[in-house]
Each structure stands twice: as C-alpha cells, then as structure tokens.
Symmetry: C2
Subunit: 223 residues, 2 copies
C-alpha cells in the first residue's frame, strides 16, 4: 500500500532555520539587511515564536547580530573577517586532514565519483551544484577525522565562508582549478601523506582567500 508520507510532524523551527541560513548564505538577505520579525513570519506563514528561536541560533552562529529591542540584522563581513576566517579554517581543516590520514587511508573512492559530477558542473557552469560538491568534499574530510566537535566547528565556519564565496562568484568570477586541488588533496590523503595534503590545502585556501580579498577590496569593502 502506498502509505502517506511518514510525516514526523517536523517542527516549524527546523525548516525555518535552514531556510533563513540559506537566504543569508546566498546573499538573498544581504549584509546589513534588517530582519523584521513580523514580515518574515508572515512570509513563512508562521508566528514570531519559532522565528525568534531560529534567529537566536543564527546569532549564535554569527550570521546575524541582534540588538535588544532593535531587532536582528545580517552581519557584515569585511576583509579582516575574511582573513581571520580563512586563518581559522586552515588550522581546523589541517587537523581534520591529519586525523583523516591516520584513520582512513582512502578517501579517493567517493571523491573520484564526485569528480565526474564536478566536471559536469564546471562545464555547465552550475554554481549551485559546484557549491554543494565543494561543501561535500570538505565535509567528508571533516567527518573522516572522527572528531565530532571538529566537524561542528568547521560546519559553523563554513556558513561564514560560503557567504563571501557566494558574493565573489556571483560577481561573475568563476573557479577554474577548484576540483584539481581537491583531487590532489584526496590523492595525498590516500597515500597517507598528511603533510603533502596540508601543503596542498594551504595553497588552495590561500589562493581562494586572496581572490576573494582582491574582489572584496575592489568592490568597495562591503560583503
């Protein structure tokens, strides 16, 4: 029998949080945007109660700033933030790589599978797909570290990084070698060579960072 979807009655809060985060990440709610509660609540067809809970979480993740009695605005990220975030991300992801190298000598399998998809995405210039693949790649490494707290930390910062990357790519830029960098990292991991993987990662992140920075500085210091 075709049973009706096993609705677990997912609370509004869940979907709402993802939707808001997504909107901020993709720039639909740009930096500095005022998030008026009643407005958004109506848009989503819910009351302000679950919305406020979601906003508190986003505040904790550093995506919005809430001033008492004045409401929430989308946080702005300047060049300094980009530098600091990439610096932070580098040490976290380096740790993930070292642990992953110890535990799983082979991340090549899943990554190779994605390579085909990645090439298609690059060919068709599908930014959305490419973003997902990029995130999945780095999430895989984090997960392979076996350190849940590290996964959580990286997940939180990923949102922030995504924001600046989105702004960068939407400005017309396009990634060339993203996936070859990934393949090189996976290759090093597969050989258990953590140092080489970290070196590759460092280069990868430095390059991304500098590209974003120059774009950011050129387009007027706001993101």
């Amino acid at each position: 029998m075709a049973m009706s979807a096993p609705r677990v009655a997912e609370p509004r809060f869940e979907g709402l949080l993802d939707a808001l985060r997504e909107a901020i990440l993709t720039g639909r709610y740009g930096p500095g945007t005022r998030l008026v509660q009643e407005e958004i609540a109506e848009q989503f067809g819910i009351s302000r109660i679950p919305l406020r809970e979601a906003l508190r979480r986003l505040e904790g993740e550093g995506l919005v700033v809430i001033a008492p009695n004045r409401g929430a605005i989308v946080r702005s990220l300047g060049p300094k933030d980009v530098v600091d975030l990439f610096e932070l991300r580098l040490v976290l992801e380096s740790l993930a790589l070292r642990r992953a190298a110890e535990r799983y000598a082979d991340l090549r399998g899943p990554t190779k599978l994605r390579a085909a998809e990645a090439r298609r995405a690059i060919a068709s210039r599908s930014l959305t797909t490419l973003f997902r693949l990029d995130r999945d790649f780095h999430a895989d490494i984090a997960a392979a570290s076996g350190n849940e707290h590290l996964v959580a930390a990286l997940g939180g910062h990923w949102s922030q990084i995504m924001r600046v990357m989105h702004a960068y790519f939407q400005a017309g830029n396009y990634p060339k070698d993203v996936w070859s960098d990934h393949e090189a990292i996976a290759e090093a991991l597969a050989h258990g060579d953590a140092d080489a993987a970290v070196a590759r990662l460092t280069a990868h992140l430095t390059e991304s960072r500098d590209a974003i920075l120059s774009h950011l500085r050129a387009s007027g210091e706001r993101a």
Copy 2:
C-alpha cells in the same frame, strides 16, 4: 544626584542564558538532566518564551540536546569527547599564541598582576577564583590574537572544557602547577618565542587532559 541604576531594561533572555550556562558548567544541572521548561521558567519567574530562546542557544553551543516534542537534556560528555575537545582546543589556542606573539610582545604585565591573586586563590583553595583566573588567562591570549572569530570559537569550546574540569576538581582533585605553566607560557610570549609557548601549552593541555581522563575512566565513563 544619586541616579537610580541606569537600567537599560536588559531583556530576560540575557541573564537567563548566562544563568543556565553557569548551572550546566558547574554541574548543578548534571549530564542527562531533563530541562523541563515550565519548571525552569517558574524557577526564574519568567515565561517559557525567553527560556526557549536560551535553550536554542545552548543547543547551538552543544551544551544541551533538544529532541523535537521531547524537550532538552544536558548533553553527556564521555572520554572520547574529552580527547576530541582538547585536540581541538590545542590547535585553536596554538594559533592564538602565534598571532599573539606577533602582535603583542608583552602579555607579562596583566599576567604578573594575576599571579599574586592566583597564589592566594591556590593557598585558600578557592576553586571558583582559580577557575575565573584560568579562564581570564586563556581569554587574554585569545583576545591578543586579534582574531575575533578565533575568540568566539575558543569561547564556545571553553564551556565544554569547563564542564569536565569542574567535575574533575569537585571530585577532590586539586591543581598544583597550573599557574607556573601559565607563567611559563606568558614568559615565552613576552620573548616573542611562539614555538616555546606552543610547546609549553601542549604539555599543559596534555597533562590536564590525561588527569581528567583517568579520573573520568575511574569514576565510570560519565561526565
């Protein structure tokens, strides 16, 4: 005129969040405790609305786990968590030390001032004071790094670490060399010798971690 306290009408949420976090950190709300909303709300003399917001934040910080329609419970931390948390903290704090060494050659001043207070606290076995001094010391280093995102990341993990440290010390153990380690780290920093500072920190954290771990394993795997 003696003006009445310039009450900015601090929303309930603010104080509530701190109070709850404090209660979890000190173990008053131990691991696994069910946090029944109405109960707590009444205790604080408020409604469930601001309480729920605070719980969402604590969920984001990893201090509580909220299951839909089932409420929040204080998260349990096992030996694996302790290992992972210290590993994470080491790379974060190492980064902070390196950046602090570049920016401020002298953290000795404020730290020396605290040394006297620390000695008094150790002599009088005032755990509370010692905890505060410990946190202040590490918070100073984080702040001296000049990386706000790093400060936030360390702050979040500090809560978790505090929980296991509290459990450890309340079991009757007592720190001997905590402050001499701190002084050694500050000394190395003052000479701009980041490598030495990191080496000291590594030893310091490894020692703390192992002490907590053996206590934890002995007392039955729960914290």
